[in-house]
Amino acid sequence: MSFTPHTLEDRDEMLATLGVSSLKELFADIPQSAHLAKLDMPDGISEQEVYDRLHALSHKNAHELTCFIGGGFYDHSIPSAVDTLSSRGEFFTAYTPYQPEVAQGTLQAIFEFQSMICRLTGMDVANASMYDGGTALVEAALMAIRSTNRPRIIVAGGLNPIYRRMLDTYTRNLHIEMEELPFDEGAVDRVKLASLLTDQTAAVIIQNPNFFGTIEDFSDISAMAHANGALMIASVYPIAMGLIKSPAEMGCDIVVGEGQSLGLPLSFGGPYLGFFAVQKAHVRKMPGRIVGETTDRHGNRCYVLTLQAREQHIRREKAASNICSNEALCALRATIYLSLLGKQGLTELARTCMTKAEYAKAQFAQIKGVRIKNSAPTFNEFMLELPCNASDLVAELIPLGLIAGFPLGRYYPELQNCLLVAITEKRTQAEIDAFVSAVKGLLK
């Protein structure tokens, strides 16, 4: 089938087959007032002119700034092979693999992705991906509500504030209550948590590393949740999984997160990649698409979408979720990225990020008037408490060629002077030193 517009000959042939003499006659049943009289479009321009125009538009974006901003989405290095391989026509143009007989390549790639997410998180089963880390977390909360038949969710204060707002948006008109553990950039307040846990609690949600960069072992929190019959949900940073204790080892029932750091550029906000993994006992309650491994009638190993009876196209309004899609191309990029990195490479990468962040922290701590606000260990992100407004400082640093970080005052009114700084393997010692030096200069 040709995907290019009809030729005049095609039109004539179709009209003849229909037994009408013109398009006007074909559309005669449509009221005259609804007919399209004229498309008011400018004349076409040449390819070069199109390129020049788009080039000028894109250069209105500042994309040469050194990036120290994190907050859930990070500037990591992406190997060229990720672009090259994921751009192959067979992958790039493939549709949803509903017909396994013509989609084995896509299905196998997704199965590999799911397997890697399981290895990364330590969990038993992963789905074919969600739209992003935020919606993945929302779906996890809704799954816990469905599973336990209880209406309350406890949210640790260190959760990404954007995700927090998304939880509110999705549950606003449902009989679900979110209870927030007060803001804390350090470890979760166990005493306060214990006081909030009741037999109405469906799940506890914790982020690790949390929004402020703090990492902790929350195995004891999982135990507290389980003792209460509640599920443990963790939202995690995949790169950190190369170094820190896995959420599965900490007793999680559901693990979600943002996969952007696995080979996806920041792209001014997307497309991103949610991942969703559960322990085996919960697999039938898991939303989203799942690829399974099986054998065909000749005994060959092959792949197929499985457990579809839970999905919307079969279960309709009774489906676990209305998601009936995934981020296939983004998941493919993540799969290629992780394949290139390997287990050892990921550990080294995570260690590099953390080591560079520790170096940066030490340099900043030496600036008079600047304090590292995190009281507990961090991974690759930390808070600077400044003697001035953080947004103002960020604005002053842009002409010097860097995005200094995320001004926390945007989401936390009491933290106007605090800046969230992220360090990835891409940041060189020279870049970090220049950053520190620039801040020192501006604060004099």
Binding site: R284, A309, R310, I314, K318
Partner: protein, 120 residues
Amino acid sequence: MMHYTKEHEWVNIEGTGATIGISHHAQEALGDITFVELPAVGKVLKAGDALGVVESVKAASDIYAPISGMVSEVNSSLDGSPELINQSPEDKGWLCKLTKITASDADQLMDAASYKTFLG
């Protein structure tokens, strides 16, 4: 005595208790059954309440309580062998048992002969 619902469930009342399952027609329509979601023991059901789900390769079908009662037992063999429902839908493939039943709810249901006629 066996009674049938329009949704193809059967209920076999024996004294103050009853056993519930799906009919031969239902298992045939569903195809190979892959999973069964059963109610919790102790759950109180009114006639018409959803008590579980029978999942096959092509559909997930809600199962409704034919009569009111309290779940006293569920067929745990179905965990590992959901195909029992295909093989023996009105005997070994039973879903759950009820106590404290409202036997008069069965007055609204069909007997075996009427159900056969209903199926046409």
